[in-house]
């Protein structure tokens, strides 16, 4: 009366598992691609803000030099948990200034060299540190 036992090979189960594995690996690859894109976007946005801070710092140094303030050390708070530090000191016949911008865990630094050009100071060299 009982039905004869049929040996099941499990073909459908194995195929289904393989297909699920393929879909999972495809989703993982796409996830990695999107995550990398998101990281790039965040990084590009943060670097753009840091560059803006560096320009603001350089403009501040220029203004101070034009007011004959050749030695200073000032720190400014910036939005988004950042700060900007500008320092300057006489260096030979010119002024060497360091501008340091911090934005969360990221930072950018540049060294500026100004020389006098008539009544004003002129930026003659910039060294950007990564």
């Amino acid at each position: 009366m009982s039905r004869p036992r049929v040996k099941k090979s499990g073909f459908a189960t194995i195929t289904a598992i393989v297909m699920l594995g393929l879909v999972a690996s495809m989703l993982a690859a796409m996830g990695m691609m999107f995550a990398a894109d998101a990281r790039r976007t965040r990084s590009a946005a943060a670097e753009a803000q840091l560059r803006q801070l560096l320009i603001a710092g350089a403009a501040d140094v220029q203004q101070r030099l034009n007011k004959d303030q050749t030695t200073f050390d000032a720190t400014f708070a910036t939005p988004a948990e950042g700060n900007l530090r500008v320092t300057a000191a006489m260096d030979g016949d010119g002024v060497r200034s360091v501008v340091l911008a911090n934005l969360g865990p990221r930072h950018a630094e540049q060294t500026l060299r100004f020389t006098r050009a008539g009544e004003k100071w002129k930026l003659v060299a910039v060294e950007l540190r990564p």
């Binding site: 195929t15 297909m19 393929l22 879909v23 690996s25 495809m26 690859a29 796409m30 990695m32 691609m33 990398a36 790039r40 560059r51 560096l54 320009i55 350089a58 403009a59 220029q62 034009n66 540049q110 004003k120 002129k122 930026l123 003659v124 060299a125 910039v126 060294e127 950007l128």
Partner: protein, 156 residues
């Protein structure tokens, strides 16, 4: 005699009809086709992802170097859309190759870049124009020169 007829009937009852077989074969064919497509798509996505990440990192590296050069450039000129002079440095675009020549006799550095890029000078900045391509939006990248920006600020 009777027993053998019974056993044959039982055997026939356990068999499949032609329609059932054809139906099963059809399902198997559809399943096989879907599996093949899935295999193909998986490998294509994996390959495309790796290729895109390589292209993105190469382009990012080139733009970082170009941005750093433009940032310290005392002057920016573009004699033609494929050449940018950033002070002493010369950047050129040749098809899909971006080349940086420091002008100091050192071997020029090269990067692979999207096709059809051009340079343009715009005030205190260098503009890198990237044309739209299938799957790519394209657009302009503006790379600022700090000495020129400050000079403009002082002059204004």
């Amino acid at each position: 005699m009777r027993r053998s007829f019974r056993s044959r009937r039982r055997g026939l009852a356990r068999a499949f009809t032609l329609t059932e077989l054809l139906f099963a074969l059809g399902i198997l064919a559809i399943f096989g086709l879907a599996t093949t497509q899935l295999f193909y798509a998986t490998f294509r996505v994996g390959h495309a992802t790796a290729q895109q990440q390589n292209a993105a990192s190469a382009f990012d590296s080139a733009v970082s170097a170009l941005r750093a050069d433009a940032w310290i450039a005392p002057e920016i000129t573009t004699p033609d859309p494929a050449t940018a002079k950033l002070g002493e440095l010369i950047w050129t675009i040749n098809e899909t190759t971006l080349t940086r020549d420091a002008g100091d006799g050192a071997r020029p550095r090269t990067w692979t870049a999207p096709k059809g890029m051009t340079f343009a000078a715009d005030g205190a900045s260098l503009v890198l124009r990237i044309p739209a391509a299938p799957g790519e939006r394209g657009g302009d990248l503006r790379l600022i020169s700090e000495p020129m920006t400050l000079a403009k600020l002082v002059a204004s």
